[in-house]
Amino acid sequence: MSRILTMSRAGREALDWEMERRDDIFCLGEDIYKFGGIFGTMDGFGAKYGPERVISTPISETGFIGMAAGAAMAGMHPVIDLAYIDFIGVCYNVLLNTASKTHYMSGGAVKVPMTLLIGTGGGYNNAAQHSQCLHATVAHIPGAKVVYPSNAHDAKGMLHTALRDENFVIFLTHKGTAGVGWMGTPIKTTLSEVPDEPYTVPFGQVKVYREGSDVTITGLGMSVHESLKAADELAKEGISAEVVDLRSLVPLDRDGIFASVAKTGRLVVTDEDYLSYGVSGEVIASVVERDPTILKKPPIRVTTPDIPIPFARPMEQSILPLAGRIADAARKQMA
């Protein structure tokens, strides 16, 4: 039996299923015991699992991420709700040097099984300190896996995979894709038919959302859905766009990216993170390092520019990688 679910509900179902069967999993984060976290991932878990397994923390990310890493090394599997990635700075040392390095530095003797849930992204007028993506900042760290589902089916399957992983997984969700009430009506393409039964979606495989032959558009998180909108517009003009969801940043499916671009010969890379030193450059490198001769045109990046994200709606909308800018980039590729 399957139902149409939001990403928030689908992820909650995976976490609930694993918690029912495994005593090693516990939840940590701000406002999770009564409120279930800002994305509802742990909605109702306080009443169901009690205060020892659903721990509401003070606003002290440095403290509770460190506590989680220690608990993971001692044999537990903490699931941390970090709400917004904008606050990653205050717990960066644990991510950078402890959670992601201890397995390697102990010669494989100590594992750090922990799942860090983080919301990313803007588009809802929350200004420069609550709208960032910053996924490149975490994907840059060797030793951590970083995944980024964009729909409910992948959210459930990838969270099961994360919770069964023996080491550190950073699980990102763009706030606008989660399907929570305070963000408004869910985007249709984020909703999926989700089976009742548990299933896993492996890390490190792109998903071709929509097949096309003229131009490859890669995206992740929200930019997948903007790319799909752009592909609809382009189809009306006779341009066949292939939309590829990266889904997983570490490991990154470079073969999958290359295969799509080898087919179309044209590449538009969309990314809501900042332009420079980011995932968008990495996607292009994945193609040109292997064989630049498959490209009919130089690739184009459609990203947020290297500026603090504006609060004012018209200004923010003008800098985000929305469907109009993506479609324009694809048209340039075809010109």
């Binding site: 929570v180 305070w182 009506t185 869910p186 909703l191």
Partner: protein, 78 residues
């Protein structure tokens, strides 16, 4: 025989507030069981849950993003 799916009077507190369907968890014409969660209803940025009052075939009458009030029939279970 068919059973209407009605927005319950106690789904939210204030009588003067309106809501809207956020999403139907099943497609029109799908089989549902009594007690299944079938829709999310948004009221003042809070998401509430609507359960199926009967077992049968879901016939959706009100699409998402349309204003609904307490007591409104939003679907029928045939």
């Amino acid at each position: 025989m068919s059973t209407p799916v009605v927005i319950p009077a106690d789904l939210w507190d204030e009588d003067d507030k309106t809501g809207s369907i956020v999403l139907w968890l099943y497609a029109d014409g799908a089989s549902v069981k009594q007690g299944d969660l079938i829709a999310e209803v948004l009221v003042e940025k809070v998401t509430l849950e609507l359960e199926s009052p009967a077992t049968g075939t879901l016939r959706i009458q009100v699409e998402p993003e349309v204003v609904v009030n307490k007591g409104d029939t939003v679907a029928v279970i045939e």
